[in-house]
Symmetry: C2
């Protein structure tokens, strides 16, 4: 199929600037459909669909989602399990109806199984049927999936990975006393059979979490809220490795204070049981258990594009340019399945986080609608709450990674007060900064503490976005008010001390 | 007097780079004292003294303070009056003993009454005596004073300006039930006679605050905590004018909700009474009152240098360069008596705030000790708490001021959630951004809300420090975690909307 575009008054067969695409024409000159086709109905996909439709209301926009859930807040699931969020529906950002009201055609339980970039067409399967869907532009927003390898036994009953609302609904049903509030099928989308099965089961007493990343740490808090025995197994020697040592130690201390039993540097080999999980085997030891949460990592969902000519990057996620374009014309990728550019290294990176997905989706929608818009860079900024402990991180903290990117990292960790010492509520706040020795440039930082620590990470994320040196960071005019910050904010104290290292050496 | 310096192996009479000054010599070649003399024993003065002594332990450092109090946290006084801070001593950063232990010679109740930059000498008065003190370097850190003009009657009993610990001690003594905890003379420095006098008086019932700036707003909270009737009079039509309209409205609403009666656009002419204040006269009306706090402004204390050749800037504060130097050699100025350079305009400005004073003092101490260090720029970043309302501001918010500085300001105010909407505790957060139309540069911003709003101002202060455009601000990779921030932080939402204005126009 030769695709002909209307470009001003001319018809052409090749276009490189997406905002000049007006309409697709058939060879005989009649207009054909040139929809924006989006694969995946979550953050990136629906941000793109919504923005494109808003900016170019004439454009047909079709979203295919293989599951039943669309536009849900994955990051909210631990709080649903904990019980802080009452209903699964609260986690839905947009209902299917609201999506359709935006003029977007939404097809759920439709799986896109193949892409032909030359034909500008995708193959869709639903309910045993298969059809071809031509596209003018395609956005691959297939997300990521939780992995459980190399742990065996992850398919036993009572074992959950932490990705998706059905899993969250089942865990909460399992935790709830059956008499408590009946079967929680508060959303029409929920896998009711699964929920009923766990609601009917005897609630667990002994639980394990395998993996001490964000979700593992958040789930530890959620399970303790239910009064359960919680054992957390982590293969590395610290929790939250991307947050660095200071945060890892702070969170470990907090978890222990809240009666979570930590097994650091402990590798889980196997989950065993007869139908239901009964024990976890780690470092040769066996621990009895009747609920296991596996959160040892996620991988980008790229199988759709493999073999299609759409290239993956070194991370294994789909390679994209600054507009979210893949190497194939009219094929974009965004969200947890795609790479982004790192603000510090300028190199491609895979940072599967919510803002990255939303922002890239929105930018791609805008680009496709006619205004080329950069998807932005990522700094890997993240925050996590563990009981009363607040943590944040941004940029590059790992010295080895900094060196690999050509920097000569210098690190400093300080602990300072969150408020004027005399003001009630002042709490220790620990700040780690990493800067490049030769340029002084701030490369990364982390913050941990109990008093508004997480929000302060945005100061460092902004400093990284502005390419500030450690000296410039030290001289920032940050706010001082006794209830919120001491004269020298902990970030400034850290910058002052690290800058002193530069001067001294 | 000809002053001769030892400069490496040579003796010279002129030096421009302070870090090369090693020792002062008399004409006959014998060594004379070349102390750093500091006038004023608070934030700027003691920061300079401490840093100079630490970096150059051989250098003699002498501090003259005309009062009894040194190194106290002025910003903490409202919380002392409120009762949140128990003891005045809690507000002292450094005791006189701790200062002396740093090797600094501290003379309290010594007033420096004249400066002779040619002779490099100051005139000191204490206890009826007068003497000359030569200096190698001089730091003028005389601070600011509260003004009560043009209001008459401010010297009546029961009327207080809000500057200094004696005033705070007297107010708290006046508010306390005499039977409660006796006379509060918990610091040796307190004016015990004044405190006893107010402790013995009948506690006030009806109070007024004249002036709706930081301290006025903070004192309204403090007085309400004591269960008093509080009337706040403010001549402009909003509270906290430097914070802009959105913050002013938010704080006014909060104060009203907390039963503070606001009289905006109301000018107080007179305080009347016979010995004790009995009424306030405002716009021709008379309100009965038995405690009045006057917080209508402060002015830099510059009388020491007037007529000495040390120049003042347009603001009326002492003009300084990037190292805190005045126009006279070896004479520095810092803190509330001195100007700084504004980060946005690059022009001199008078921003009498705690961090400015501490940072400039420290930098000057370091410069004098041999390492020339910039005092840094100020963005006027400030935060204030009014009951549960948190406010922050930075940069230039006032469109007229922006235009006067050569910018073409575009403003946007938005309200967004502080956390993911489903997460408990999410609260409205209102962000105002001002940017320059032609360059897109962020000029200023304010934030108001109840959930960690004040701390977020540092994101904007950092963006201003990094000269970010509104587009760069929109693309920052800020932290997202449901308990702390929604996917699109309120700051990003504001940037997105304001940036949209740029694109649309």
């Amino acid at each position: 199929m030769t695709v002909v575009y209307e470009f001003g008054n001319r018809y052409v067969t090749q276009l490189h600037t997406p905002h000049h695409i007006v309409r697709l024409l058939r060879n005989d000159g009649t207009r054909m459909s040139d929809p924006l086709v989006v694969v995946g109905g979550d953050a990136a996909g629906l941000s793109a669909a919504s923005k494109c439709k808003r900016d170019d209301p004439e454009r047909e926009v079709i979203v295919y989602e293989r599951g039943r859930w669309v536009s849900y807040a994955h990051c909210g699931t631990p709080y649903y399990v904990k019980g802080e969020v009452e209903s699964l529906s609260d986690l839905l950002t947009l209902s299917p109806t609201a999506i359709e009201e935006r003029g977007i055609t939404l097809h759920r339980e439709h799986e896109v199984v193949d892409v032909d970039p030359n034909a500008q067409s995708v193959t869709v399967q639903t309910n045993g049927e298969t059809f071809e869907q031509p596209y003018g532009d395609l956005l691959v927003a297939t997300g990521a999936r939780a992995v459980s390898e190399p742990i065996t036994g992850a398919t036993l009953d009572g074992v959950f990975t932490l990705h998706g609302l059905d899993s969250a609904a089942a865990i909460r049903a399992y935790l709830s006393d059956p008499s408590e509030d009946g079967v929680r099928t508060d959303s029409e989308n929920v896998d009711a059979a699964l929920v009923r099965k766990y609601a009917a089961a005897t609630p667990p007493r002994s639980t394990v979490i395998i993996g001490g990343g964000y979700v593992g740490v958040e789930m530890a808090e959620a399970l303790r809220e239910h009064g359960l025995d919680v054992h957390l197994f982590q293969r590395p020697n610290q929790l939250l490795p991307p947050f660095g040592d200071a945060v890892g130690s702070g969170v470990a201390e907090t978890l222990r204070e809240n009666d979570v039993t930590l097994h650091l540097e402990t590798e889980v080999e196997e989950l065993v049981g007869d139908g239901c999980v009964e024990a976890v085997v780690a470092d040769g030891e066996r621990f009895s258990v009747d609920l296991a949460l596996v959160g040892i990592g996620i991988r980008p969902n790229t199988s759709l594009v493999e073999g299609t000519g759409v290239e993956l990057g070194a991370s294994g996620a789909i390679a994209t340019d600054k507009y979210g374009r893949t190497n194939e014309p009219h094929v974009y990728a965004a969200g947890d399945c795609a790479e982004s550019r790192h603000a510090v290294t300028g190199e491609p990176d895979w940072v599967p986080l919510g803002l990255t997905a939303n922002r890239a989706g929105r930018a791609i929608g805008q680009t496709i609608a006619g205004t080329p818009t950069s998807v932005g860079e990522v700094a890997g900024t993240a925050a996590v709450k563990a009981f009363d402990c607040e943590c944040g991180r941004t940029g590059i903290l790992d010295p080895e990674r900094a060196r690999a990117a050509g920097f000569d990292p210098v690190t400093e960790t300080i602990t300072a007060s969150s408020r004027s010492g005399y003001y009630p509520g002042a709490a220790d706040t620990t700040v780690t900064l990493v800067a490049d020795r030769s340029s002084g440039r701030l490369l990364g930082g982390s913050i941990v503490g109990t008093d508004r620590a997480a929000v302060r990470i945005d100061t460092l994320a902004t400093a990284i976005g502005g390419d500030l040196t450690i000296g410039e960071l030290e001289r920032l005019d940050l706010a001082y008010a006794p209830p919120f910050s001491p004269v020298w904010d902990p970030v400034l104290v850290a910058a002052k001390v690290l800058n002193g290292k530069f001067t001294d050496e």
